[in-house]
């Protein structure tokens, strides 16, 4: 009796795990299948490197080059990671070296709160504060890659901080007492020992944050102006995810346009998988060396 029950439970857990794994397989399969039409008709090279995105026919044939969107995605993610790096590593250093364990446990939920705020709200505040600010500075329109980078940097800040803080606390607990016994001040220790020792941990958190930044849709779509021009710091731009969100509604199901949007999704997914794999490899290697 008990044995049957055990078997049923085992089978049930196995079945649900199988469904979970199959979901990812399905996901990849469907995105891949739907993008085939565009790849066949337009060609992958043209899709990736073409600089014209004109899905609707006016005078001449439509063209589906998403080079500018790919570059915009990379540009805005790089900006966001750069800003988040400066602020996030500083905050993590402060929390790891100057705060007590108790203070840290009290403060960390507030940082996590930042990760829970919906991206539409970030877009909303970005539109009303960041974009307005640029307009006050005298620009005709405040919607820009820079605005997107600023908003996005706040969104990835919590990942950056908690990941860096973990590394730094570990390093501090390993060498902190010895350092304090030598009479070294905590800030000297922070600058001379904790910071250099956590460089690789910081690199890992950068990979993680880049992935987050590139996958973001709503917030960047609302503050970047969505123009398919070549990305410039103060110019408008459109990320791959924004392109999909904006045009999916007008693309006819089964058309080349529709399929090209799936190809855009495929490109984004492949980029993120690559970043994730690099992140995993880095982490494994550092864990082996005992550096993290």
């Amino acid at each position: 009796m008990r044995k049957t029950e055990d078997r049923i439970f085992h089978a049930l857990m196995g079945l649900f795990s199988l469904i979970t794994v199959l979901l990812l397989a399905f996901l990849i399969f469907f995105i891949f299948r739907e993008s085939q039409t565009a790849i066949r008709e337009v060609g992958l090279a043209e899709l990736l490197t073409g600089d014209q995105w004109r899905p609707l026919i006016y005078k001449d044939a439509p063209s589906y080059g998403m080079r500018n969107m790919i570059l915009s995605t990379l540009y805005v993610a790089a900006l966001a990671v750069l800003f988040a790096l400066v602020i996030g590593v500083g905050t993590a250093l402060c929390l790891a070296c100057a705060a007590t364990d108790r203070q840290r446990t009290l403060v960390m939920p507030y940082i996590d709160l930042l990760a829970s705020i919906p991206s539409v709200i970030y877009g909303f505040i970005g539109l009303y504060i960041v974009v307005k600010f640029f307009e006050k500075l005298g620009r005709a329109t405040g919607e820009s890659i820079l605005a997107g980078g600023i908003v996005l940097s706040v969104m990835i800040l919590p990942y950056m901080i908690s990941s860096c803080c973990d590394t730094m606390v570990r390093i501090r607990s390993r060498y902190g007492d010895a350092s304090a016994a030598m009479g070294v001040s905590k800030w000297y220790m922070a600058g001379q020992m904790v910071l250099p020792a956590s460089v690789r941990g910081i690199l890992i958190s950068m990979a993680l944050a880049t992935g987050r930044a590139m996958g973001e849709t709503m917030a960047v779509m609302m503050v970047m102006g969505n123009s398919i021009a070549f990305p410039k710091l103060l110019g408008k731009g459109e990320t791959i995810s924004a392109l999909i969100a904006m045009e999916m509604g007008i693309a006819e199901v089964g058309s080349t346009h529709y399929s090209a949007l799936y190809t855009a999704g495929l490109v984004l997914m492949v980029l993120l998988f690559a970043i994730n794999i690099v992140f995993e490899l880095l982490k494994k290697r550092l864990a082996k060396e005992g550096a993290v």
Binding site: R2, E5, D6, H10, M13, G14, F16, S17, T20, V21, L23, L24, L27, F30, I31, R33, E34, I87, G88, G90, T91, L93, C94, L95, C97, V107, I111, D112, L113, L114, S116, I117, P118, S119, V120, I121, G123, F124, I125, L127, I161, W187, A190, G191, G211, G215, T217, M218, M222, S241, I244, A245, M248, G249, G265, L268, L272, F273, N276, E280
Partner: protein
């Protein structure tokens, strides 16, 4: 040397202040601007006006979001927690366990807009459900699945192994041990993970654009019909750029939900540690 140390201190303290300043500002801004828009009518009426949403309330969006989130949690938590149980207590080969971890990693890395595309081709088109609450909820469920699974796995691994071994030594089966010893032990963390997943699903707009969310609908009664959702409603209000009062009000409601769910999740997680 002294200068360098002083600079490090300045940088760390300044960025720490900036971070907490931003957190405080985000909430203070929405609360200060949004509180005025909250009236009984705003919470209990449907959107009205020449341009939809400029007048009236957001009740259909609140109820719609609750449906999407409920389905997402049911779907994501069932699959996520079962996968975690399998990975920790049943899977004997390290290789299979690593493979499941890799699948979760990849799934967590799929951007939410691509989840939306997936839900659109599979649920809306291939299965022919059309845009509906069920399709939107399941799409969000797939999105929060890895989020819940990672937290559940961590909680399961933290269970005191002596208890588990003692249970086995008493001749208890694996299923009995998991259900009667392990799950009650880490229930608070599991609940905390699901609550955070719910908050994530509530705020996610990208997966819903193609799978369920619409500009205007009645308070939903049927799972196979589309419904409004809070984040999409806020997005529509902003892109039309007409009613910022109602936009602030909608954002206010979402921020309250974020605060409440996060406080609950933190409370559950801490309760167990004591």
């Amino acid at each position: 040397m002294k200068l360098k140390t002083a600079l490090v201190k300045l940088w760390a303290v300044a960025s720490c202040c900036l971070t907490f300043g931003v957190i405080f500002f985000l909430f203070a801004y929405i609360f200060a601007k949004g509180a005025g828009a909250i009236t009984w009518e705003f919470l209990t009426e449907s959107p009205k006006g020449m341009i939809i949403g400029t007048e009236g309330g957001i009740l259909p969006a609140i109820v719609g979001s609750a449906w999407y989130t409920g389905i997402a949690c049911l779907f994501g938590a069932t699959l996520g927690i079962c996968t975690a149980v399998y990975q920790v207590y049943y899977c004997r080969s390290q290789r299979l366990s690593n493979a499941i971890a890799l699948v979760m990693q990849c799934m967590a890395g799929v951007p939410s807009i691509v989840m939306g595309l997936f839900g659109y081709t599979l649920l809306v088109l291939t299965l022919g459900w059309g845009k509906c609450i069920l399709a939107g909820g399941i799409t969000q469920g797939v999105m929060i699945l890895p989020f819940i699974q990672v937290r559940a796995e961590k909680a399961l691994r933290e269970v005191d192994q002596n208890l588990v071994r003692a249970s086995y030594a008493m001749g208890m089966s694996r299923a009995y041990t998991v259900r009667r010893i392990v799950l009650p032990q880490c229930l608070p963390q599991l609940v905390s993970g699901v609550i955070l997943g719910a908050c994530y699903a509530m705020g996610a707009c990208a997966p819903l654009i193609f799978t369920g969310a619409v500009i205007i609908a009645k308070v939903p009664k049927d799972l196979m019909k589309p419904a409004m959702a809070l984040p999409y409603h806020l997005y529509m209000l902003l892109t039309q750029g007409t009613s910022s009062v109602n936009a602030y009000g909608t954002a206010f409601v979402m921020m309250i939900i974020v605060l409440v769910t996060n406080s609950l999740a933190t409370w559950f997680a801490w309760r167990n540690k004591k």
